[in-house]
């Protein structure tokens, strides 16, 4: 049996948690740089990539034969941990990738949940004042076509 040191165990723990978040959010890649280290996780293909949406669009052939666009399902943006919902972007708001979708509070500390991709707020899954548990849908984001 391999004896892992504390740092290695923590790194595996973090990677595991990131994988869960990546799968739940439907992201194709996750790239996190923190004081504990750098993590890069990627799926093989077929998923939205928050790091390179522009590149994918640019690479698409401009003169492609017109096809009926498939309905892109709205992305569910979920609470990353238990927290009280302080504010939610209004339905219909157009947001850029990285823009705040919701503010959450834990004790007296407030943090933002940001859009992984550009899009429009299609609906809410929680209300301001709710105690949102981990995984609770905060908003549904319709990605920009």
């Amino acid at each position: 049996m391999i004896e892992l040191d504390e740092a290695a165990r923590k790194a595996i723990d973090n990677a595991r948690a990131l994988t869960v978040i990546m799968l739940e959010q439907g992201w194709g890649t996750v790239h996190v740089v923190s004081s504990e280290g750098e993590y890069f996780l990627a799926r093989e293909s077929g998923h939205c990539d928050p790091l390179a949406p522009a590149a994918q669009v640019a690479a698409a052939p401009v003169a492609a034969a017109p096809v009926a666009p498939a309905a892109v399902p709205a992305t569910e943006i979920k609470a990353p941990h238990i927290a009280t919902v302080v504010s939610l972007a209004a339905v219909g708001t157009v947001v850029a990738a990285g823009q705040a979708l919701a503010t959450l509070r834990v004790l007296d500390t407030v943090s933002e949940v940001v859009a992984p991709v550009a899009g429009t707020i299609a609906g809410h899954g929680a209300a301001v004042g709710d105690l949102a548990e981990f995984g609770t849908v905060l908003v549904r984001l319709q990605p920009q076509p």
Partner: protein
């Protein structure tokens, strides 16, 4: 003002145990879970459960801010930390106090003081509790000889900056102490760049004994006897008994008095355990540390006292004093607990998570099972591997061993590897029956013999 709604900040069997104790006292319960424990037995039994975060303990059970926020926002007026996780982190009671929640445990300053090895030794010395005889600084070979003679052999000479056995020597007489000083000092300089050494008495045959305490926070402390937890592997307890049958009565009384004196000296509140090393050859005991929480092995003390320690914890946290006096604590018979872990004992105790396909547990008078498991339950790979504790109580130690053996034989678990088979081998070993074991017995005697047998 008794507690009205309790937040359970733990998982596994102890979360279930706490929910049941609260329900017996008509206290509502909210259980905190990670994503992996949403369907746990405690979550199902509680009035409410809330998902703190993902399976990673660091992002759920180990985040004190998430825990206290969830407790406050679910309207809880009390919080039980269980054991492990945040139970001995002073930040938890501090955040509780700031948010008007009663912490089921001692004051944060007491947790911090007892959690610091040096401070805890100072407190113990001040309360008249015996410490391992030793000397903090050995500067020369002559010091080693003089202090070794004073302390009594064998002695352990150790690098102050040490760890991992480097710069560590056992000396059986004055000549060995002198030679050992030279070697340990050289090793310590080479390994740590610091040749400072200390010396303490080496206990070749030690038993781990501990006293169960309960305090009201105003200097009143009572005890529920002692436990013997000498069956250990890598400092993890596997089997615990109450009382310590290897200890004579006059020492037992001194042991209890020492533990109570230390806890009373810091106005200890709620449940705690004072741990000691019992030197069998010299018939002396020395302070190790205080665990400022309920312990895994508390059921053996409950079995011999007939008293529910977790319910008493909740009453005290709700503002009540101790519900009984020392002379109302009556201990009888002998109790033994086995920790059933999901581990493969033949593969170096490798954790064996997975789904339980069969769970057929023993029942009967004097048999208690504290477990959150059942057929079809899933053991997630993220946490410790304990799936339950089997506890038996009988009139004598021999009768308790027989009862435990029969109960273990009836305990059928499939789908995962468990330590059930190993427990039967331990308790039927002549050394365990004769009660001549010590803290390194399992690793030095039983496991090597077992390994050799399997290899043959």
């Amino acid at each position: 003002m008794a507690l009205r709604r309790l937040f359970v900040a733990n998982r596994g069997e102890i979360a279930l145990r706490i929910v049941r104790a609260a329900q017996a006292l008509n206290i509502e319960t909210v259980v905190a879970v990670s994503e992996a424990d949403k369907d746990s037995a405690a979550a199902r039994l509680a009035d409410r459960s809330v998902v703190l975060g993902p399976p990673s303990a660091a992002k759920s059970y180990l985040d004190p801010r998430l825990v206290v926020h969830a407790a406050r926002e679910t309207g809880c007026d009390g919080l039980h930390p269980g054991y492990g996780f945040l139970s001995e982190r002073a930040i938890l009671p501090r955040l509780c106090a700031q948010n008007g929640i009663a912490f089921v445990g001692p004051e944060p300053d007491v947790i911090e003081g007892l959690g610091d090895k040096i401070q805890a030794r100072t407190m113990a010395r001040a309360a008249g509790v015996p410490l391992v005889p030793g000397c903090d600084e050995i500067a020369t070979a002559a010091d080693a000889r003089r202090e070794g003679d004073r302390i009594g052999y064998p002695v352990l000479i150790k690098a102050a900056a040490g760890g991992g056995g480097r710069g560590m020597v056992i000396a059986n007489n004055a000549d060995e102490a002198e030679a050992g000083f030279q070697r340990a000092s050289a090793e310590a300089v080479a390994a740590f760049g610091d040749g400072t050494l200390f010396m303490e008495r080496f206990v070749p045959q030690a038993r781990h004994v501990e006293v169960q305490l309960m305090g009201d926070g105003n200097g009143r402390v009572i005890h529920f006897g002692e436990r013997d937890c000498s069956v250990q592997r890598r400092y993890q307890k596997l089997i615990e008994e109450a009382p310590c049958a290897a200890m004579p009565d006059h020492l037992r009384q001194q042991l209890h008095a020492s533990a109570v004196a230390l806890a009373a000296s810091v106005n200890y509140r709620n449940a705690g355990t004072c741990e000691f090393l019992f030197d069998v050859l010299r018939q002396e005991f020395y302070f190790i540390e205080v665990n400022a929480r309920i312990q895994v092995e508390h059921p053996v003390s409950e079995m011999i006292s007939g008293f529910d320690l977790v319910q008493e914890q909740l009453r005290i946290a709700g503002g009540a004093g101790l519900s009984l006096a020392q002379d109302q604590v009556s201990l009888s018979g002998h109790a033994i607990e086995c920790r059933i872990n999901a581990e493969d004992t033949l593969r170096d105790f490798l954790p064996s998570p997975g789904r339980i396909t069969r769970w057929s547990a023993p029942e009967g008078e004097g048999i208690r099972l504290d477990s959150h498991m059942s057929e079809g339950a899933m053991i997630p790979p993220f946490y410790d591997s304990m799936v339950g504790k089997l506890i038996v109580h009988a009139a004598t130690r021999d009768a308790a061993i027989d009862k435990l053996d029969a109960a273990l034989a009836e305990f059928h678990v499939e789908g995962i590897a468990t330590t059930i088979g190993l427990h039967r081998e331990i308790i039927n070993h002549p050394d365990f029956r004769a009660n001549t074991i010590h803290t390194r017995w399992l690793e030095q005697v039983l496991l090597p013999a077992r390994q050799a047998e399997k290899a043959a």
